[in-house]
């Protein structure tokens, strides 16, 4: 779901929602209708409301907030997840591994040291909402070709061997890396083509090898 919908959900909760172009026929404007029609948006609104109630200590016993099991499970998963990303295929010392972990964090990921309540809310919100930008089509500018096989994400099994760069630098470097991978694919295809042309030229010299298309 979009950030705008989230913003609208938040605004609605705080009574800051601007119901500008509503009229008799359309009692709700388009944004509000979208919010009300969207199941995900309603879920977000519900959670925002719940967070607010928790903060104001208004929660009653009837609300399903026993998330301790989920939190525990989530916490149990965290260190494993971090380890499984950095594959032992590249020799990496402790510092390198930490650097790699920083490199691999998608932009905007949140520190795990946050309070239990925050972790719980995040663990509810995250699935399916944000996807990693591992599609080169989305992260590279429009280019002559998008080679059929050249779609490898740059984001896995990466080990950085120097101090961690900033997020902007990482994005720029990802793009640069991606451009090398794409160029390699393009060159492969051109090389295949060049090979075919050579064969064709050879065939033209030798009339017995004549091709009938």
């Amino acid at each position: 779901m979009s950030d705008r919908l989230k913003q609208n959900a938040s605004a609605l909760l705080d009574s800051h929602f601007e119901d500008t172009d509503a009229d008799e026929v359309h009692p709700f404007n388009a944004d509000l209708s979208a919010l009300l029609d969207d199941e995900q948006a309603r879920a977000v609104w519900y959670r925002y409301a719940l967070v607010g109630q928790v903060m104001r200590q208004e929660v009653t016993g009837t609300q399903p907030i026993d998330i301790s099991a989920q939190v525990a499970a989530r916490i149990a998963q965290e260190p494993q997840a971090a380890n499984s990303v950095v594959m032992p295929s590249v020799q990496a010392g402790g510092a390198l591994t930490r650097a790699a972990a920083r490199w691999l964090k998608p932009a905007g990921s949140i520190a795990i040291a946050a309070s239990v309540a925050v972790v719980a809310v995040l663990s509810v919100q995250q699935p399916g909402l944000e996807t990693l930008p591992d599609n080169p089509a989305a992260t590279t500018p429009t280019i002559v070709t998008n080679p059929f096989g050249g779609r490898n994400p740059v984001s896995y099994n990466t080990v950085v061997e120097t101090p961690a760069p900033t997020e902007a630098e990482i994005a720029q470097q990802r793009q640069l890396l991606q451009s090398y991978l794409l160029d390699h694919q393009r060159q492969l295809q051109l090389s295949l083509q060049a090979e075919m042309e050579q064969q064709d030229n050879a065939a033209e010299v030798d009339p017995i090898d004549h091709q009938n298309d």
């Binding site: 594959m87 590249v90 002559v144 096989g149 779609r151 896995y156 640069l176």
Partner: protein, 289 residues
């Protein structure tokens, strides 16, 4: 298998996976006449990318990256072109071992292993249909056995005649041909590759500006018949990438040597790419392999 990939009429569905990415595809193939086979591949996830091949003309259609065509008799980026040729062509560097049978895609299959004769290359496992010799499954893995890339047919239907989807192609628009940059220049920099694993031969060597970044770059492409590797050389201060390495279906390392940034890309273990970079030489001393 090479013959089956050229001659059979079939409609198949398959999934292709690289790391954590997975792409389902539909694959039509048919034989038009003695010389010409037709092939259509459709990606089912994400952008509707298609590859159509008519004999040695290949057309790539993509709503995101632009469409283009090439003169090649295999679809690039799908099954390695070497598998369309007899294994004898690559047997100097890969040992082919038939090791038993297995059920794959619901059919009895022969299991073949292509084991690199040295530690510099990835290995391949192939499962080939016993009845038709059609490729049913393929995986590429590191010398340690970690699977990096897989292709698995999930259904296949053989037909007597060419699939109907391949018979109505006349009206389809043909995208523009992808040509070489018009002015090809020889490499500029005096740092050059001096060592590659046994059997890799130089395919291309040129100096140009990389399309996406406009960095002036020397580029070398080598191939051992199954695997290709690219070496990019740029002035270090212009590129600014940290030293890094990642191993995957397509590995990549970036390192700096004598004021040059060297980037090596290919379906090879990271250790091999490092060796290629480390053993490069300055000046024109030492003959090129």
């Amino acid at each position: 298998m090479a013959l089956a990939l050229r001659q059979l009429n079939f409609k198949a569905t398959l999934v292709q996976s690289q790391g954590q990415r997975i792409q389902p595809l539909i694959w039509f193939h048919g034989r038009y006449d003695h010389d010409t086979d037709l092939e259509l591949l459709i990606q089912l996830n994400g952008a509707d990318s298609r590859a159509l091949r008519i004999g040695d003309q290949t057309y790539y259609y993509s709503p995101v990256g632009g469409s283009y065509s090439l003169q090649t008799n295999v679809t690039a980026g799908f099954i390695p072109p070497a598998f369309y040729e007899p294994f004898a062509h690559i047997s100097q560097h890969y040992q082919v071992i038939a090791s038993g049978g297995m059920r794959v895609t619901g059919r009895p299959a022969q299991y073949l292993r292509l084991v690199s004769r040295d530690k510099f290359r990835y290995h391949y496992d192939l499962w080939v249909d016993r009845e038709s010799a059609m490729l049913l499954k393929l995986q590429m893995m590191t010398p340690q056995g970690e699977v990096l890339e897989q292709l698995q047919l999930t259904s296949i239907e053989f037909t007597d005649h060419i699939p109907a989807q391949l018979t109505e192609l006349e009206a389809i628009q043909r995208p523009p041909r992808l040509y070489e940059a018009s002015q090809l220049e020889a490499p500029h920099f005096n740092l050059r590759p001096n060592w590659l694993p046994e059997g890799f031969e130089l395919r291309r060597a040129q100096h140009r500006r990389l399309y996406d970044t406009q960095l002036p770059t020397d580029h070398y492409l080598f191939s051992d018949g199954l695997t290709d590797v690219s070496i990019y050389i740029t002035e270090r201060r212009q590129q600014g990438l940290p030293e890094l390495a990642f191993q995957g279906a397509e590995s990549l390392i970036n390192t700096s040597i004598d004021g040059f940034a060297v980037t090596v890309v290919g379906k090879l273990p990271v250790a091999t790419l490092h060796q290629i970079a480390e053993r490069m030489v300055l000046d024109s001393q030492g003959p090129m392999r």
